[in-house]
């Protein structure tokens, strides 16, 4: 039944049922009827002072209905819902205990009146009794339809509707349960709530970004859009995309040339010239930083060399060698400053240095000297027996001993009789000492120098019985590789004059040699240690210094990994490693918070100040049968050493490296193969060839690896014994065949 319509079965009493006009007053009596349609009489403002309460009480009360009846005199006469009394209670004359007529505020006239009217309801006593009797027998009165409508109207009794009642009950139950739940709030609850807020708020207040954008690691090489049949597209570093020239040199400008002039490629001589420029003021007036060159002797001693002294030694030794008329100078030295000085001296005086692998059996060394056609040998004193050497190497014209300080009291000038006519023996420090005051210290310019001679490198596998590969590199190969290795590392992590670089592997390997040249060219400090070699222990190599960058061999890193993994036994250590791995897989280097400094595995392996070591450059020598590093090993090594690690792929015929992994790439892959090598460096480009065309379609071609570029000896070479595949993220992966 709609509210506003009377019940059809009851007698309808409405203004419209009478013949009177709408606007006219109805014939219903004022006590029980409806006035119909008209607004209530205006409310007269009460007078100040005495109030005629009886007149006020007698005033009729109107209420507005939303149906056609409009304003009607309120029969239940309640202006507030809480004053609505159920019609059954109207019949009693019992006074409402809520009512306090005398004490009500004068402004509350209407309410008071309503309550009064409610109590009396303008019904006479007899009528009231009659109604009561009728109701007790169940007879419905003339106004019961109104009461029914009021009962059914949800606006008056919203809580009595069935569905509403359920919902209200449910809400009240829920409310009660919530109240009991929250009433058990205690100190622990407060603590828990604080902890939860902290867990939620901490990553918002201290957000940690990955070191590099993950999408930069998702595509690390740029592929050429065109390829030949039978080979894949050429893959290059993003620094030198398709259509640009590969990096071919150091971009060396002459001293007086303007800043915008494009530089020349340069050669090894320009590297030492750049070293000598350290300390002077540059073109824009800013002083060029000086890089220190120091040698680590023994356990404690660190000897620093002055650049002028070294320049003088270069000139002296170069003159000494060229006066002896030698063309190829074999170097059989451990890592030492003399090694580098000989390489520079050969560059300035037009001779070829032959880089021999150290710590080989003597017979092997003689073989190599003969097969490379070396006519001079610079050797550490006592490393080779003089008689045997003179006997085996008939081509030698000059043999220079490099004597360490402790043995200088001995006489090394002796020559065996059999070789007296053609072999001259000299001692390095004597040669340098006798020409100390006389030699000039200015480096000759390029026109004064004889033409450049190539550098010969001997690539010896770990097993001395295997035949080595002898490669001839031009100066352009070396210099292109040096420049590419400088720029491969992004600017944030690049070699700076504030770095101290420790080559912990022999200079024979062109990767180490080119990185050392890169260190010299960028005016970084260089620490040379004679114990450096493949497989050296990092702690031994970096005994009295704290290097920021270490260039190590894969054997060193593999043995370091094995040692540290064996030492990691405690649960807290493992937990610390797990948490750090999580940080690394999110792209961040793990930081040394206080908690983890206590818990984490000790990084005592390298550097005397843990945490200062920031970068380790390690290389895989293809064909040398060295142990390779898997992706998980590299990830663990990053955690053990707290340093970023770059893994480079090197081979005999390529100066420097073929490819080097991204310094910010901390992603781990499962598997026992070599870790992915990242993008090719900017001096080479990599192509994969395969007879099967289907292996080359798509974006992950696989096949034999062909390397081309200014960094490759002979322009082009093919990696033997391995197959390569380009990963989906642009990293080069190498598999043994």
């Amino acid at each position: 039944m709609r509210p506003g319509t009377p019940s059809p079965e009851l007698r309808t009493v409405s203004p419209w049922s009478s013949e009177d006009s709408f606007n006219g007053l109805n014939t219903q009596s004022a006590t029980t009827g409806e006035v119909g349609g008209q607004p209530p009489p205006p409310y007269r403002a009460r007078s100040l002072g005495a109030v005629d309460t009886q007149a006020v009480r007698d005033r009729p009360v109107f209420r507005h209905t939303s149906d056609h009846r409009g304003w009607i005199q309120s029969t239940t006469s309640a202006s507030r819902p809480q004053d609505v009394r159920h019609p059954r209670t109207i019949l009693s004359n019992r006074s409402d205990p809520r009512r306090d007529v005398e004490g009500q505020h004068a402004l509350d006239n209407r309410a008071t009146e309503a309550e009064d009217a409610n109590a009396e309801d303008h019904i006479s006593e007899e009528r009231r009794k009659q109604l009561f009797m009728d109701r007790s027998v169940g007879k419905r009165g003339e106004w019961d339809w109104l009461e029914d409508r009021r009962d059914n109207d949800p606006r008056y009794h919203p809580a009595t509707e069935e569905s509403h009642r359920d919902m209200v009950e449910m809400l009240e139950r829920l409310d009660a349960q919530l109240a009991t739940l929250l009433s058990q709030w205690s100190v622990t609850t407060t603590l828990l709530a604080l902890v939860i807020v902290a867990v939620v708020a901490y990553p918002i207040i201290y957000p940690s970004d990955p070191d590099t954008h993950p999408l930069l690691l998702a595509r690390q090489t740029s592929a050429a859009p065109i390829r030949n049949k039978g080979s894949s597209a050429a893959y290059r570093s993003p620094e030198v995309p398709y259509g640009t020239q590969l990096r071919s040199g150091l971009n060396v400008r002459d001293v007086g040339a303007p800043r915008w002039a494009s530089g020349k490629d340069g050669d090894i001589r320009d590297i030492w010239r750049e070293v000598t420029r350290g300390g002077s003021s540059g073109e824009d007036g800013k002083p060029i930083p000086t890089g220190l060159i120091m040698t680590i002797l023994g356990r404690d001693e660190v000897v620093e060399h002055k650049v002028e002294d070294l320049t003088r030694e270069i000139l002296v030794i170069g003159r000494h060698l060229s006066e002896a008329g030698v063309k190829r100078v074999a170097l059989y030295l451990p890592n030492s400053v003399e090694y580098l000085l000989t390489a520079f001296a050969c560059a300035f005086y037009g001779m070829s240095p032959v880089l021999l692998p150290y710590n080989q059996p003597h017979v092997k060394v003689y073989e190599l000297i003969n097969s490379t056609g070396a006519d001079a040998l610079i050797c550490a004193a006592g490393n080779l027996p003089l008689d045997d050497a003179a006997e085996a190497c008939k081509n030698l014209k000059l043999l220079t001993w490099v004597v360490e300080k402790t043995s200088r009291h001995m006489d090394w000038n002796g020559v065996p009789d059999s070789a007296d006519d053609h072999l001259k023996v000299s001692v390095w420090h004597d040669v340098v000492a006798e020409q100390k005051g006389t030699g000039a210290t200015d480096l000759p310019t390029n026109d004064q120098c004889p033409p450049l001679a190539p550098i010969i490198s001997v690539w010896q596998p770990v097993d001395p019985d295997i035949q080595p590969t002898i490669t001839t590199f031009t100066h352009q190969n070396i210099v292109a590789a040096t420049a590419a290795l400088i720029t491969t590392i992004p600017l944030r992590q690049r070699l700076t004059p504030a770095d101290l670089i420790l080559p912990a592997d022999g200079f024979t390997h062109t990767y180490i040699l080119c990185q050392t040249f890169a260190a010299l060219f960028t005016h970084a400090s260089l620490a040379i240690s004679s114990v450096a070699g493949p497989g050296v222990d990092l702690a031994t190599a970096s005994r009295s210094i704290s290097p920021t960058i270490i260039i190590a061999s894969a054997e060193t890193m593999a043995s370091l990994h094995a040692k540290e993994t064996a030492a990691l036994t405690s649960m807290t250590g493992k937990l610390g490693k797990y948490t750090h791995s999580q940080a690394m897989s999110a792209g961040r280097m793990p930081t040394d918070s206080l908690v983890f400094r206590l818990l984490a595995p000790s990084s005592s392996s390298a550097g005397n100040t843990p945490g200062k070591l920031r970068l380790i450059l390690t290389s895989e020598r293809l064909g040398a049968k060295t142990p390779f590093l898997t992706s998980t090993m590299l990830s663990d090594l990053r955690l053990f050493t707290r340093a970023r690690i770059c893994y480079a792929l090197t081979t005999a015929a390529v100066a420097g490296a073929v490819a080097q992994s991204n310094v910010f790439d901390y992603r781990t892959e499962a598997g026992d193969g070599r870790s992915p090598f990242g993008a090719p460096i900017s001096s080479v480009e990599v192509t994969l060839t395969n007879e099967d065309e289907r292996a080359l379609e798509g974006v992950m071609p696989r096949g034999q690896v062909v390397v081309r570029g200014p960094g490759v000896s002979g322009g082009e070479t093919r990696l033997v014994g391995v197959r390569g595949q380009m990963g989906g993220d642009g990293t080069l992966r190498i598999f043994d065949v």
């Binding site: 739940l181 058990q184 205690s186 609850t189 828990l192 939860i196 867990v199 592929a223 390829r227 974006v699």
Partner: protein
């Protein structure tokens, strides 16, 4: 009113009723251990504990797979074309648009508005455009009619026209990719026609 929380025997109750006061202190030594245990594992504490465990797990769990870029289109294979093999590459039937300038075939699909079907230079698509570019004309008679015959040698063109052709070739080299080489039919390098199924 306070009697509903009592756990004592009736005697205690009786005594207290006699004393006429509620004695809460007598209950205290009996319940503290139970009260502390229960007060930790209240429902609200359990809810907060589980919420904390869930949040901690979400923080510590291994992260999802790394971001990947969509794959770049694979590289085009450098092919040797003869004029009949080049004809289909005119932009119709979803084929790329190629044109040949002095033996180099350029992929001009990015300039489809010009060289594709309906464009002003559509005559050049799939054809040798050298003469047309040299003379600056897009007429039909600039194109070689006989596809089976030898290529247009451009011998009768003067210096100006060759200069213009060189300019066009430079622009093409800068803008478009060289994807092939044009050889006459019967040339040693010509590849066999692909068998159409």
């Amino acid at each position: 009113m306070a009697s509903d929380i009592r756990v004592d025997t009736g005697q205690q109750e009786h005594m207290d009723a006699q004393m006429g006061s509620t004695n809460m202190n007598s209950e205290a030594p009996l319940s503290p251990p139970a009260a502390e245990v229960t007060s930790f594992f209240t429902p609200i504490n359990l809810i907060l504990l589980s919420l904390f465990a869930v949040l901690l797990y979400m923080r510590i769990r291994p992260s999802k797979a790394a971001a990947t870029l969509p794959q770049a289109p694979p590289a085009t294979v450098f092919k040797v074309f003869t004029p009949p093999q080049l004809i289909p590459y005119s932009g119709l039937n979803n084929m790329p648009v190629y044109l040949a300038v002095r033996g180099h075939i350029f992929d001009v699909t990015s300039g489809r508005n010009f060289y594709g079907p309906g464009g002003p230079y559509a005559n050049f698509a799939g054809r040798d455009a050298s003469r047309g570019l040299a003379c600056g004309s897009f007429d039909e008679d600039m194109l070689t009619e006989d596809l089976q015959g030898p290529l247009d040698k451009l011998e009768d063109l003067g210096g100006e026209e060759m200069e213009a052709l060189r300019g066009w070739e430079e622009r093409f080299n800068e803008k478009y990719l060289v994807v092939g080489k044009l050889v006459p039919v019967g040339h040693s390098e010509a590849e066999a026609d692909e068998k159409k199924v």
